[in-house]
């Protein structure tokens, strides 16, 4: 059992970062979409994320927390190498978070300014996260290829988040905003597909380690469900949005559901590419792991607490289920 602890923690970290992307992805996406709504729609867009964004953001803290708890060596290496994008992301998240609260409370004339800050913060955080993901996949390489690849992912991640944002709005909104969200989803779908495809092709090109893992026999066959289901999921979304009279047939969560499928598959593919390393080519999960005593202490806590967290997260989503209503502090 003890030998598996580092892998379990790596899985937990991957899971919480995946949950982060799925959940805070829609917050950040809506932040970037905000300028395209009119004033009423903007208020509704904010209302659609109001009760959730704070807890959504906590998943990245937890992910980085596990990195720190379970892999202190890697935590130092990754975060000090990614110093600049991390700082940019943090500034973005700070701006996004405070703008959310100030826009409803500050002097009404300043609301437009806070909206802009909200959008800029979301965009900055998203791009910085893309940059971090890119450098991480290349094993923190700082050469030209590495930078180019990071740049590519920096462009890719916003389209995914935009898509998640639009899909979440389809779940939470009605009327004109719903129609707009549908339009945004259609606009974002193709760029998202293109960038995801590009990234999938570029990843094995920049990393020979990853290429060797994927293009071997019979590995390729066993792994084929990941790309195949992804393509099927993407094709379904394409068909729904462009060829169906009523794209969602009152099942307004459908698009968001398919996006979750794509995110989960991408995460699985990524996990397969990276493991057993924690930083590709630099250190393995086992090498970076903290001492067993530390891991056990956190393990029991996590085993007891995480299910509780999931349960009350679901409870809160149920409390606020259905179409969003205007946010009221009363």
């Amino acid at each position: 059992m003890e030998a598996y602890l580092p892998t379990i923690f790596a899985g937990m970290m991957g899971l919480s970062l995946l949950i982060y992307v799925i959940l805070d992805g829609y917050d950040l996406g809506i932040g970037m979409l905000l300028p395209f709504g009119n004033e009423d729609e903007q208020d509704m867009m904010i209302a659609a994320i109001g009760p959730f964004w704070d807890a959504n953001e906590t998943w990245i803290v937890f992910g980085v927390g596990i990195l720190l708890v379970a892999f202190p060596q890697a935590h130092g290496l990754v975060l000090s190498t990614l110093y600049l994008p991390v700082s940019a992301m943090l500034i973005g998240l700070v701006l996004r978070g405070i703008a959310f609260d100030f826009r409803a409370k500050a002097v009404a004339e300043h609301k437009e300014r806070w909206n802009r800050i909200f959008t800029c913060g979301s965009l900055l955080a998203t791009c910085a996260q893309g940059w971090m993901l890119g450098s991480y996949i290349t094993g923190l390489r700082q050469d030209a290829t590495g930078l180019l690849f990071s740049g590519l992912i920096t462009l890719c991640l916003p389209s995914l988040y935009l898509m998640l944002g639009a899909a979440w709005l389809l779940v939470k909104s009605e009327g004109s905003l719903f129609d707009k969200a549908m339009r945004w989803a259609r606009l974002a779908l193709l760029p998202m597909g293109a960038t995801l495809l590009l990234v999938s092709l570029a990843t094995p090109l920049v990393s020979s380690t990853i290429a060797a893992k994927w293009f071997s026999w019979p590995g390729l066959l066993q792994l084929s469900p990941i790309p195949l289901i992804s393509i099927a999921a993407y094709a379904t979304m394409l068909w729904m949005l462009f060829f169906r009279e009523q794209p969602l047939h009152r099942r307004h969560w459908l698009l968001y559901g398919w996006l979750i499928v794509i995110c989960v598959l991408a995460a699985l593919g990524l996990a397969y590419s990276i493991l057993p390393d924690i930083v590709i080519g630099r250190m393995t999960v086992t090498e970076a792991a903290a001492s067993p005593a530390s891991l056990w202490f956190t393990f029991w806590g996590a085993i007891i607490v995480l299910p509780t967290v999931l349960v009350y997260t679901i409870v809160v989503y149920r409390i606020f289920s259905g179409k969003a209503s205007p946010l009221s502090y009363d």
């Binding site: 109001g50 937890f62 100030f102 009404a108 609301k111 530390s294 202490f297 809160v316």
Partner: protein, 457 residues
Amino acid sequence: MDLDPVLLARAQFAANISFHILFPAITIGLAWLLVYFRVRYTRTRNQDWDQAYQFWVKIFALCFAIGVVSGITMSFQFGTNWPGFMNHAGNIAGPLLGYEILTAFFLEATFLGVMLFGKDRVSHRMHLLACTLVAIGTSLSAFWILALSAWMHTPAGYVIEDGILDVESWWAIIFNPSFPYRLTHMLLASVLTASFLIIGVSAWRLRRGTDATISLLVLRTGVLIAMIAAPAQVIVGDLHGLNTLEHQPAKIAAMEAIWETGDSVPLVLFALPDEQSRSNRFALEIPYGASLILHHDPHATLQGLNEFEGEHPPVAIVFWSFRIMVGTGILMVTFAWWAGWQLLVRRRQPSPALLTMASWMTFSGWVAVLAGWYVTEIGRQPWLVQGVLKTSDMVADHEASMVLGTFVAYLALYAFVLVSFIATLRYMSLSKPRTQTAELRDKSAQMDELPRPPEDS
């Protein structure tokens, strides 16, 4: 320009953590005050308590959001600025921070949504539960963070193998010798920060005649709590000082600017400690004072800084921060008792003088909290973990220009947020109570309804 990377990394970390602590210092205490308002409303069904809650929960939400986002910054900066700390002490620091996220961060962040926006969607009892869970979450958060902070001052329960610290006993690590004192000191500090904030803001409102009934109710509540918490803090602070004397004598020597070991040590009230000549200039002293305070015996012996030459913290800043903290504390006790005498014992209406004084003291909690943290954290230098790890060995190897660049960016951001926060706090306090929705759907109607205070341009 030659910049010391250690100093730069410390300055950046200090700026972030100083900015961050301002908001938890409010929310830890304010969360319980809000629970109190809710409970009073539940018991009495007096609308005033409900109104008080409505008003303060919005300010709570604002403080909470700023606290959360700046807290996220902290969790990353352990790695970006102090990778050495994680490499050497990660086995101990990691799980403590991990438990903070697991038990506290998720709890407060998730139920905050229900607390803020769920009043119409859940039962009254469920809402009260959500408020309580948020309050428990904020205090639990303090529990874990203080456990780590205290452990860095009085490390216990660990073994060292090849320079890496490993766990021997979690119980000893968490309940390390200075932990109970630090936790109590910080929780009381937060209660005081929150009560002086509600006292001050209510005083602003009363001076303008905004929402007079509720403002007076909140003012009296704040004064009552401060009357109890402020003297309690003096006692806890004294005990904490004695604990520090036992474990970190160099810090005490710096706090009191005592250079030479000796008995019957005077209390230095005012001085300019000079590290070049290793003496105090312009010292104003009370004979036997320091011995009396620290050992409760006027002839007791105290260790001086010269015994720790090269291994003691910078003296002047610790000495002065300590005086600022104690001075603010004395002011708080005096004000709380004076106001309590006027408002609660003699049952008078607050006089203009009292309201002015209260307004001035709105952010006194912040001053004391920051000064106190500077005393204790700078007082730990040159150690990161007292006696085990040196700060200068733990720093990341970044280019000074990059650290400086992000440092300036953070400072600009924090200055902006702080100014916005105080401006918004004033705006919210001095405009008529907004019982409407947060979203300003009917903006023009709202504008007519809400005359803005004259000083807002």
